[in-house]
Subunit: 441 residues, 2 copies
């Protein structure tokens, strides 16, 4: 990935830091969400693996540096800036919440401690990586809950914000609780289960629907899912039933899915195919999934596209990356911002998770340490001096963590409905409060 | 880009087409939007360049084919399928509406005519490429109109759906009418003007705000934009004003932007800096931009992030890619779909644009030809037998086309408010209607 994939001001600031001789100051930035998006009781952290890949491979090509030299914004930049870019690597430390962990506003998902110039340049990419996957994983967790035990499969690449976003959405959706994805690249790259059989064009490419079904079944056997709504769903169901086993089942992609699923279930049962399953798809939303589950629809699996791959009801997270500490020769200064509605707390932080509440403290605190409690410190080192620390969990491991840690949340937070105010309790430790009051003076 | 970046069912169907001996049938697919998203009077076509790049470079690696071989869905696939993938190239013809052209529901943005197996496999990628950039370009056109002559700069990469989506959003936003972007990669890759100076972290990294401003100005000269809201916007404006020229101006990123822009304007004017400009940013939406313009806010430029890069009020387009014609030995068969609310019209089409209405006809029709009228046929060949036909317009050329063709739309369609029902008139030619009625029988 190109190192130029960043906002230009990160690079003008980098040039300025070099000009001011501050580029080797050690800066600490934290990435967090200021608030929960609408309809979300928690966020599910995801995207760390891609963020670390980026940091581990960050470098500028000479062609890219040549491009910057020609921009008016760099006309007065010191030559040292360009030579710094030519050898720039990310050499800092990164602390992060593991993928698949529920997080709340104000809690850092990621802390970067690095020479100022490095920590600054990576802001844009880190934000886009982590907030996108976190947003999708959070949405997937809701869809999985809404389906009440039915399988949810991610079908949204074609509606994602670019093909690359589709692949990352598939990964995040899997972490959040989907059974798998239709995106083959995500299967190949991340080891995620992939699903898919045939589209309407398959049926249309044969003169008769029954020929299309027969050809599919001889190819796919027990993986066969007949798409039965190209012409008439009931007729399609009867044609599929006449072919009998082996098949997985049928898919309905349009119409009144509740009524049709019941009628198709009856057709399959009457044909002696009680094990044949029913999948539904077609512009499904969380709300529609919930309604189908509430009506006890005889549906085994749901393919969800747009609403999942774009987080339709809350298509952005609004995460930020804020400087919280800067250390130059002899001076260690917590920083903060006081602007309207965008205030930040100073200093590097840690998140301490109790069974039913979180405490945000200073990074050096050790709340609950040694008293044999179940308090977890959520942030741990994942990159040390530019090297990834240990093996990163796979997408499957992150998914297992998500399942377990969502189950451990209080019922009101796990619920699809809004929790009683003020939601999950997140407080500030006395030491952090004291630091904040000190810097405000 | 990996050829696996597609839905698995495209590949299972491909295997099925090989098994059925149909993979060399010539298929025609059309890519179009079924309806306009909310708050849109038209769509602005974009994303074609990336779609054609993909088609021109499509190929499977042996590692990717090895992955497919291990999937249960391909356990019975004929060996010929795998050998076909090993040498697969896109060899078809593509017809498209040029980037920067307004389009309406039902009108193909892209027509693919290729051997069935090729045309099928590319569906997912083409949809994700074209519908994402079309969605963003359409949103950018609205923001540019809302700003009433003020410059709009795309600031949204950090909030985009992945870093790669941010770069493509920058391109599409520029085509749609933005002045440029903060995304440096988009500047490098697509020749788009880039903008950016400094963030709050720049100010915070200096002990005093005035030091931060001074250092920035000596680096950037007349490109300097002081970010004045880190601590107190009025004080920030006064500190910036004390430094005087050369500078571009100041940026306000929080608070009541209307009131602050007026107060800051007064501060700059009083300091003898009437030429210093004001930029605003900070969670700007189309609605807020409109309100600022309506209030005649003394604002010169607006940086718009999330709402633009995610098309916040309509974050998906719902475009589809439908088989409209299939030609096997001796048989040329228009295809269609009759399912509830998802019916499609059969046969390859052309879009004929009059001054104030469109007619969708059959691809072989030549409506308005030869009568010296101003009727334009919107779709033209852009790829012939897998080779890109001629030079593709640059992003800047697409932007110029967009500006001119939006200006040529009827005022009610250009407007930010909904047009009188039924919107822009799009009718079906008699020949297409006849074809539809023929296939319905």
């Amino acid at each position: 990935m190109s190192a130029l994939l960043t906002d230009l001001y990160e690079l003008t600031m980098a040039a300025g830091f070099v000009a001011a001789g501050k580029h080797r100051d050690t800066a600490t930035f934290e990435l967090f969400a200021r608030r929960l998006p609408p309809n979300r009781n928690f966020l599910l952290a995801a995207g760390l693996a891609q963020a670390l890949d980026y940091l581990a491979t960050l470098r500028f090509t000479s062609e890219e540096i040549g491009y910057l030299r020609e921009l008016p914004q760099f006309a007065r930049a010191p030559e040292e800036f360009f030579s710094l870019l030519a050898t720039l690597r990310f050499t800092g430390d990164v602390f992060a919440v593991p993928e698949g962990t529920p997080v709340f506003p104000g809690e850092p998902l990621l802390t970067v401690r690095a020479p100022l110039v490095e920590a600054q340049i990576v802001e844009t990419y880190l934000l886009a990586s982590i907030s996108f996957q976190t947003m999708i994983a959070s949405k997937a967790a809701r869809l999985a809950a809404a389906a009440e035990g039915r399988s949810v499969i991610e079908f949204g690449t074609r509606r994602a914000h670019s093909p690359a976003a589709g692949t990352l959405a598939a990964r995040a959706a899997y972490i959040g609780g989907c059974l798998g994805t239709s995106n083959t690249q995500a299967g190949f790259q991340f080891g995620i289960p992939v699903y898919g059989t045939a589209a309407h064009s398959w049926v249309q490419s044969f003169p008769r629907e029954e020929d299309a079904f027969g050809a599919l079944q001889s190819l796919l056997g027990e993986s066969t899912v007949h798409l039965i709504d190209t012409y008439n769903t009931h007729e399609g169901a009867r044609r599929a039933a006449r072919l009998g086993a082996p098949l997985w089942g049928v898919r309905i992609d349009s119409g009144d899915l509740l009524a049709l699923s019941r009628e198709v279930r009856a057709i399959l049962d009457a044909a002696g195919l009680p094990a044949a399953k029913i999948m539904v798809s077609g512009d499904l939303t969380e709300e529609r999934v919930r309604a189908l589950a509430a009506a006890n629809a005889p549906i085994d699996a749901l393919g969800v596209g747009t609403d999942l791959a774009t987080s339709g009801d809350a298509p952005n997270l609004g995460a930020v990356y804020k400087l919280v500490e800067i250390k130059s020769s002899g001076e260690n200064r917590p920083t903060f911002k006081r602007s309207a509605e965008k205030a930040t707390l100073p200093g590097a932080k840690q998140v301490f998770r109790y069974e039913d509440r979180d405490v945000i403290g200073c990074s050096w605190e050790c709340i609950g340490c040694g008293d044999n409690s179940s308090v977890q410190a959520l942030l741990s080192p994942v990159m040390i001096q530019g090297e990834i620390a240990g093996r990163l969990p796979s997408a499957a491991e992150a998914r297992a963590r998500a399942t377990a840690s969502i189950a451990a949340l209080p019922a009101a937070i796990r619920s699809l409905d809004p929790p009683p105010e003020p939601g999950y309790p997140v407080t500030i430790s006395p030491a952090l409060r004291e630091l904040e009051e000190g810097t405000r003076v």
